[in-house]
């Protein structure tokens, strides 16, 4: 526990505090990039492909260029650059071939949005439509068209394994123990396949950026980005510019959820600005563009085969994950990698064989989304645990408790779980207790009789570690002002998650200052803030929290050194409170922080010290790369464990259901701010319910996205809340967490869907394998009809399941009835 303190000693950490940026947000004063305008600013629009896959025969921009007020028009052929996070596979604008519906083929910058739109309409594009590969399982077939024939020639980060000549930009593998021996020793073998479609993040602020490329290659970028340093790094990599030429500024961001983690509109706007003579160029995606020009969450097909011993212990698991990257690898290859060390869940499994494929298709591409793959694979895993328990005749809670990780367990990558790793069993018990798991209360029985509907209760566990490089680092700078207030500079962006408030509480606690003397910057600027890798992965609290503590300590050390000279004492004899530094046993010998803040001047004018500026640097410690063949290594900064309990009420006649209660428990190590933890927990849970109940991309058989709007892609409203919500914190201190804390930004979204699926199964017997769980899916499952595939619809229909003709025969579990 970095800087562990007994709860009774803590004045700010663990207590309620208002959000540091709350007033600006409730008054409408907070500025987002979408609100910004710069002098001479132009407006950009893009011409988008109406086809999933097509060859670009000809683009004629002459009419657009002739339109008054058009200042720049660009097509892909002009831009000899490649973009990519991990596999450098993307052009700024499609060149010879478009790879997904909605991909940009030309860009325009004009005086007004109206002129830019008119110009886009005047651009003529002639396409030769090519057969598209839409289904990721079909993309694996030998005769499938190649989405990227040049995959073998692309640059990539070496922890990934692109398979040249295929549609597989990454294959991550893990081998632990002897899986065949484990199956041979098993009493039961249960095998199933679980699926879910692509979904959209839906931040309320769509992607927006303003870029100006000025003379001398000075580039300024204002962006709704989660990770300003990543935008800068990738931008400079693509354009071969020195990092000190490019400045990225991020003010308030209207939600991110992973969708704004990488680089998006910035390179195109930069090229338009350069062509338009350096004027700033702004573009804000429409809601429709947010669905198909910008990335989504990958679809997944997850095959799980589990061997279970006579006593109910899991002996072996064969896990195969097929991730649908869409047209570009972006974060999908790293989601795949994260799944390769996490997809067995928080369970102790001695023998594991895991293969995780990233697969290109001709669809909008997948990126990071809150949970980074865990929402998707936990759907399958925790439904599977339920089905296993049913098969072996054990209660699902008992079955999970028997198999959970505990101190001394070895994870599938070979990490030993310790007393400080967090407590999945305690989370599961808390969630189970909160829903009165395993029985119906008299009130619930009465409700069943009154309504004629069935009530079921389900549980699901979850875990997640930050998916990040082993050497992920950050820094904090704490600067004292002449009145004793301080400014904390960190590059962790405030996208709504409450990090700025948590950091202010941590800094004030460490400095022993009241909270209102600490300001954490909201606007981030790569020229001013110290380095941070990215605002992703729920890693902010540990990395930036520790750096902030260390920066506070550094500032205090400098203050103590000056104070020691002024007070004629050794630094070791000094102590401090909010006002100043004093001699421990002579409290009247004191010097105030304002007197020390920018150096101390003696009465005769002599001066010592200087401005108090503390620097804290923190890098993840002890992590290692994973072996490419066996997946063994130490990938996890920390594991946050959790569990959800769901009570659902189902109408067995119609399949309609209602969520009555969700109880969620997370081992957060140490609560920094209870209201913020609760806000993350509830907000993530509702986002998880959206994924569980209704959200998903629907395509027609040609790969056109049919539902890129709020009319056709519903997200939860206030009417979709469960009747009751309970949020529970477990606090098993993290050894290297600030005050013992660990991250919980993503975790609440994970495993909501399987907990709901398990509750519905308990109520109805419906064996649900596909997420989202629509009412008709429940009805079909209750009536044991073949699940309908309308995600790539065929009526007008097409999506995420394989061609029924080639779908591998129904799971061949010998033990199943």
């Amino acid at each position: 526990m970095l800087e562990h303190m007994e709860p009774s000693e803590l004045k700010l950490v663990g207590r309620k505090a208002l959000r540091v940026e709350g007033v600006g947000k409730v008054t409408g004063e907070a500025v987002y990039v979408s609100d910004m305008a710069l002098p001479g600013m132009l407006h950009a629009q893009v011409k988008k492909s109406p086809h999933a896959r097509a060859r670009i025969i000809r683009i004629d921009t002459s009419k657009a260029e002739a339109l008054y007020g058009v200042r720049a028009v660009i097509v892909g052929k002009e831009l000899n650059y490649k973009l990519g996070l991990y596999v450098v596979d993307k052009d700024i604008l499609a060149k010879d071939e478009v790879r997904h519906y909605g991909e940009a083929v030309a860009g325009v910058a004009a005086d007004t949005i109206e002129i830019a739109k008119a110009a886009v309409d005047l651009i003529e594009v002639e396409y030769e439509v090519l057969p598209a590969v839409l289904n990721h399982m079909d993309a694996l077939k030998a005769d499938a068209p190649l989405v990227h024939p040049n995959l073998g020639k692309y640059d990539y980060v070496p922890v990934f394994s692109p398979q040249a000549g295929t549609n597989i930009p990454n294959l991550s593998k893990l081998r632990k123990g002897d899986v065949e021996k484990g199956f041979a020793e098993s009493e039961w073998i249960v095998e199933r396949e679980y699926t879910n479609p692509s979904v959209q993040h839906v931040p309320m602020e769509t992607h927006v950026a303003i870029v100006e490329w000025k003379t001398g290659d000075e580039v300024n970028i204002w962006s709704s980005a989660q990770s300003p340093f990543t935008v800068r790094n990738l931008f400079c990599y693509t354009f071969k510019l020195p990092l000190n030429k490019v400045r990225v500024v991020v003010p308030n961001v209207g939600g991110g959820f992973g969708g704004k983690a990488g680089i998006h509109l910035e390179p195109l706007l930069a090229c338009l600005s350069r062509k338009a003579g350096g004027k700033p160029v702004k573009m804000r995606a429409t809601r429709e563009e947010e669905f198909c020009l910008l990335p989504c969450r990958s679809a997944l097909t997850y095959r799980i085969k589990t061997g279970v011993g006579a006593a109910g212990k899991i002996l072996a698991q064969s896990l195969t994950l097929y991730w649908d990257a869409g047209a570009y690898a972006d974060y999908a290859v790293n989601v795949t990698r994260a799944s390769s060390y996490s997809a067995a869940g928080p369970y102790d499994v001695p023998n594991v064989k895991l293969d995780a494929y990233t697969i290109y298709t001709n669809k909008p591409y997948g990126t990071a989304y809150r949970g980074f793959g865990h929402v998707e694979f936990f759907w399958g895993l925790e439904r599977h645990m339920e089905l296993i328990a049913q098969v072996i005749g054990m209660d699902p809670l008992e079955f999970r408790m028997l198999n959970l990780l505990k101190p001394g367990s070895i994870t599938i990558t070979g990490e030993r779980i310790s007393d400080h790793s967090g407590d999945p069993a305690k989370c599961l018990e808390a969630a189970a207790k909160a829903i009165n798991y395993g029985k119906l209360t008299p009130q619930e029985k009465a409700r069943e009789e009154r309504t004629g509907r069935k009530i079921g209760k389900g549980l699901a566990t979850l875990h997640k570690a930050p998916a990040m490089p082993s050497f992920t680092a950050t820094a904090a700078v704490v600067k004292m002002n002449t009145d004793g207030t301080v400014i904390v500079n960190i590059a962790l962006t405030e996208i709504g998650q409450g990090s700025a408030t948590a950091m202010a509480q941590i800094a004030a606690e460490r400095l022993r200052f009241p909270l209102d003397r600490v300001k954490v910057t909201i606007e981030k600027d790569t020229d001013k803030e110290p380095y941070d890798w990215q605002t992703v992965a729920s890693k902010g609290i540990i990395l930036s929290g520790n750096a902030t503590i260390m920066a506070c300590d550094d500032l205090l050390k400098q203050a103590y050194e000056t104070a020691a000279q002024v007070l004629r004492a050794q630094a070791v004899d000094l102590d401090h409170d909010a006002q100043g530094i004093f001699v421990k046993h002579r409290r009247d010998r004191v010097i105030s922080f304002p007197q020390l803040s920018v150096g101390y001047a003696f009465p005769d004018g002599n001066a010592i010290g200087g401005p108090l500026i503390g620097v804290g640097r923190y890098i993840a410690q002890g992590l290692s790369n994973l072996d490419k063949e066996t997946g063994q290594g130490l990938p996890a900064l920390d594991w946050t464990f959790g569990a959800h309990g769901v009570i659902a009420e189902v109408d067995c006649e119609t399949g309609e259901y209602k969520v009555l209660k969700v109880a969620s428990a997370f081992d957060v190590g140490k609560v920094i701010n209870p209201d913020i933890v609760r806000g993350q927990a509830i907000g993530g849970m509702i986002q998880g319910l959206g994924t569980a109940i209704c959200e998903g991309y629907i395509y027609d058989e040609k790969g056109h996205l049919l539902n890129p709007s709020f009319t056709d892609n519903k997200i939860p409203t206030a009417q979709d809340l469960p009747e009751e919500i309970e949020t529970i914190a477990v606090e098993t201190a993290q050894l290297d967490g600030p005050f013992g804390a660990r991250g919980v930004g993503e975790h609440p979204m994970i495993s909501v869907a399987p907990a709901l699926g398990n509750a519905i199964q308990k109520a109805t017997g419906a064996e649900l394998l596909h997420m989202p769980i629509r009412f008709e899916d429940v009805w079909r499952a209750v009536n044991a009809k073949e699940p309908i595939d309308n995600w790539i619809t065929k009526t007008p229909t097409g999506s995420c399941r394989s061609d029924p003709a080639t779908r591998h025969s129904s799971p061949d579990s010998a033990a199943l009835p």
Partner: protein
Amino acid sequence: MRVKLSVNGSVYEREVEEHFTLLRFLREELGFTGAKEGCGAGECGACTVFLDGKTVNSCMVLAVEADGSEVETIEGQALNGSLSDIQAAFDRHHAVQCGYCTGGMVLSVKELLKRIPKPTVPQIKEGIEGNFCRCTGYQQIIEAVLDVSGQAESAGKGELKHA
């Protein structure tokens, strides 16, 4: 066309293009950027403002339609540097995360409380169902509304529990 209207009690008169929505007019011509565009299709409520005493999605109203009207935006809620009671309750209950939906949400709550001074939870849910929030999960917003409508006892149940 020439449009004259009042926003938060001050009169503005501008030449405006006929196709400009009230939302664009407020944001781009008058600088009231507290109203946001989340969809441009009247679905998400981020652009909610009062038009002659009733809330509207300002992305679905033309600026010329608002000629002669009284408009009230989120910027008009805090007076003399003090938050309105609804704003203060939102702040106190952490009914805000990214903040992008917040302005519209606060105004929808104001409209609800004008109609129903002590709304039940189902009435609150109905009152804000036209305002999407992707961050908070709505629960802390509901608690803020209960609190500001004098039903703090019901709001007080919303605490993080410890196992």
